[in-house]
Subunit: 542 residues, 2 copies
């Protein structure tokens, strides 16, 4: 491109260019609303002045023990104030925050600590047993700082030599924290669940985390000073960037150690919670609470959910209980939600069933996402927007990860052709909304025909005796693969394999009907995800 008059003497300088970072949000809010309540945890609360001072103490204390830009600081914490502080204090040193799923087993934790080359570990007494085991297995020897949470009254050992409060006491509350030299610098590291092989370490950056704060604001309609209940684990994609988002808006973080109905209803009632996020299990916890624990909610509460699409009955019950549910979808690789079921005003007039069907679709791209496509991964061409043709869901934009840590092959594979390949299969409807149909590795190819395991599972779930269903491919000499269904039955119910096959024949095209039915317990990960790779092993043996 030839240079024009607009390229001359109009360069970046400290007055007109700054690296984007979500850390600036805490500094701004603390300076404008120092006395506003930033964090509530049980009976404890802190202002933004205190929140900022404590985050700076943490950064200062980490610097004093030698933490420097590019180091990894790990955290195995519940949704406590210390975890919020870590989201600011750790990157304020230039280090990268590695959050650990608290439900993992010792071997995987040890793998993560070693792979991340962790220098410091924050851990909570609740997780001391598994963490002690993990530390024995790990090669790295991080400095261990124990969080001794007041809201965890049970015993449980302290693993390190220093407690969090004592540690940050040694830090300077007016520490001159490090602004990232480049907005592309890493801010966080989170491992994918690794249902197949070793977990991959997703690296995100300051630019993306900053933009996600704005995107969350628009997408969730956060408005000024929201009150946010921490029902979504912060270890999960950095709580979808809400530690930074709520802070940007000067909102109140209401911490919560456990997703329990009584505590959630009380928090909503007492603090007038306006927003919360969570998997469908959080909705069930609300709805299935004993009557004595349920409190009437007088104000409208926004509930943002991801995972399985919310069924019509649940949506109806949630609305009756005072919640407006928004359905989102994303991956660790996209900072959490990057697709939102943006509601169209015209849909308000539709019957509840149709509304639920529309809401079950994953939707359209998030505000900060550049592009969202459903493509044939071979040709990289869009599938027709017919609601039927399967393709792989692909992402592009500033809220896509930097890549996988120390895994160049996986990074390159995931970015092949200039798009992030989600591994999720879906369709696009004529109105542009997408709907997931399957994980690409979960698709069953039988006689050259693609069979969606989700479609089969949907039919199986509708059988009155079935409580859980999972379908995987089983190698077959004639067909290549055939569907193999694993079923758990409701208590006291019985059904024969023949009855299940008859049910499927009634509801599915013949080639999709499972050839093999297995009644057995279905293996799940610590986070409740069905482990299809184990089922595939089991399928080989039946």
């Amino acid at each position: 491109m030839t240079r024009s008059q607009y390229d001359l003497h109009l360069d970046k300088n400290p007055a007109n260019f700054q690296a984007l970072t979500p850390l600036s949000f805490l500094e701004r809010t603390a300076s404008i609303h120092p006395d506003r309540v930033a964090i509530v945890h049980g009976r404890m609360w802190r202002t933004y002045h205190e929140f900022y001072a404590r985050a700076r103490r943490l950064a200062s204390a980490l610097s004093k023990i030698g933490i420097k830009p590019g180091d990894t600081v790990s955290a195995m914490l519940a949704n406590t104030p210390e975890m919020l502080e870590a989201h600011f204090g750790v990157p304020m040193t230039g280090a990268v925050l590695h959050t650990i799923n608290t439900r993992l087993d010792a071997a995987i934790i040890a793998f993560q600590l070693d792979h991340a080359e962790s220098k410091v570990l924050f851990t909570d007494r609740e997780f001391a047993p598994v963490m002690a085991e993990a530390l024995k297995l790990a090669k790295v020897k991080p400095i261990i700082i124990d969080v001794d949470d007041l809201e965890f009254p049970q015993s449980g050992s302290l693993l390190g030599t220093q407690e969090y409060e004592a540690f940050i006491d040694g830090g300077d509350p007016s520490f001159a924290w490090r602004w990232p030299a480049d907005e592309w610098e890493a801010i966080a590291l989170g491992y994918t669940s690794g249902t197949t092989g070793n977990p991959k370490g997703v690296v995100t950056h300051h630019r993306g985390a900053h933009l996600m704060c704005y995107a969350n604001t628009l997408s969730a309609g956060l408005g000024r000073a929201p009150v946010y209940l921490w029902t979504l684990p912060m270890f999960h994609c950095n709580g979808w960037c809400f530690p930074w988002t709520i802070t940007a808006l000067g909102g109140t973080h209401v911490c919560l150690r456990w997703v329990r109905a009584k505590a959630m209803y009380e928090a909503i009632d007492q603090h007038k919670v306006t927003h919360l996020c969570g998997a469908p299990i959080v909705m069930s916890t609300f709805l299935n609470a004993p009557a004595a624990e349920k409190l009437a909610i007088a104000h409208k509460v926004e509930f943002i959910t991801a995972g399985a699409p919310p069924p019509a009955a649940v949506l109806g019950q949630m609305a009756a209980a005072g919640f407006n549910v928004t359905h989102v979808y994303g991956l660790t690789e996209t900072y959490g939600p990057s697709v939102v079921n943006e509601w169209q005003g015209a849909w308000d007039a539709l019957p509840a069933g149709e509304q639920a069907q529309l809401k079950s679709r994953q939707g359209v791209r998030y505000p900060a996402l550049g592009d969202l496509r459903v493509m044939n991964p071979e040709t990289m061409e869009d599938v027709p927007a017919d609601g039927v043709t399967l393709g792989e869901v692909m992402f592009r934009g500033n809220i896509v990860m930097k890549g996988y840590l120390k895994n160049q092959a996986a990074t390159e594979e995931s970015f092949a052709g200039g798009w992030f390949h989600s591994g999720d299969l879906g369709v696009r409807y004529p109105d542009g909304y997408i709907q997931l149909k399957d994980r690409s590795k979960d698709i069953i190819i039988s006689g050259g025909e693609n069979i969606s395991s989700i479609e089969l599972e949907d039919v199986l779930y509708q059988h009155p005796a079935v409580s859980a269903a999972a379908v995987v491919a089983k190698a077959d000499e004639k067909w290549g693969e055939t569907p193999c269904a694993f079923l758990e039955l409701k208590p006291g119910m019985t059904v024969t394999k023949e009855e299940i096959i008859a049910w499927c024949k009634e509801h599915l095209a013949g080639y999709k009907v499972p050839r093999v039915i297995v009644f057995d317990e279905i293996p799940k990960t610590s986070t409740g995800k069905i482990q299809k790779f184990r089922l595939r092993e089991m399928a080989k043996r039946v």
Copy 2:
């Protein structure tokens, strides 16, 4: 800095990095809400599908006549749909949109066209007389496209050979528009009013305009799908970036050629306007409308104002009329508002007078602004936050301009020391809020003491006979400078110089009392700004 594991094989690629631009917002909204009403203009309305298609037609038509990246396209337009389209269609070619204040005289317009090296000019029949004259004076010969607005029924000549509708008819509605190669690329050019010497051309970029959309959203509490009334001229700092902001949110733009009470009340009532911006004159227009033109506003309307701080009486009347007023401050160099009087909940309990006093302060930095200081420009040190000590207001961050076009000296001067020097003098209060006191060139230094001309004017305005007041420095052998006051009186009122001086002595420290009083008409610019440089000339002669 040593490289860490986070710097290896984790580079930018088309999947995870895109230049920020506000243009992407139109594409996204049009794809998600194609049938939503984007623009209303009189009885005409258009959907987002149409808005996007027309913007692309415009970009395509411009490309066809040879417009390329780095070219300047000028627009002298009212707040019509074509002006909104220009905010997208022009930068979609990589060209820079130069907006012209429609109240300027021919000589200044000619200067701007020449200085900007304008290649294409969009002009409206209303401005044909002055534009015809300007084109005679200008050396450049831009291609002229006439906008023949349906809402401007009066006659008025067409200056070019082509009308806007015919021009874009030749464009392709699915034109593959040009994404900026770099988010630092120029998007717009706007000239400062130039009360002293030639106007300076402020160049802004795609990155800043993109971030301003988020900042406006947070700051004005825009929420989902706002309905925005165009009372602020779009030629003024690109309408504070609201053409892009409202589009990002899928809101409705309600166009308006003239700030007239009847049309404004009707638009608010008919379209359920939620937000509008404007100078204090817009508020007076609402409040001073004949009773027959006033309509009761049943819903809450957010009014964002800049310029003179809103007085208590006006705030009270605005509240009674259904408006919530937010006070902002900024400059063309900061994309419009970059300081906001962010309201503190605790202030709600204060008496109206105190609330008005608090609201009269300019406030705190905008969400996307990195830093805002009041500094001694000699030492570049912060003034004490005492509400008294004067300093220069300085800005830093991503919503500060690239610089002044073809004016390296002015650019370097304005960015001296790594801060943008606003030229405005103000104080900082203990709570961090800033308040403007004067333009630095308007300060009067008498006997070594700084005298704020604004403070004197405030006192003079309070005199019952005074309708307008302006104070400038007059050279004085003994004192260096002394204050010289120019006054306009209310119809039918009289007052003597002695009475004015007595009034000032009663309300001001002795050294601040004006030595010279002049009763005369006060010269103003086309936009109503008092021309102090002319008053300084007049002061020499009295």
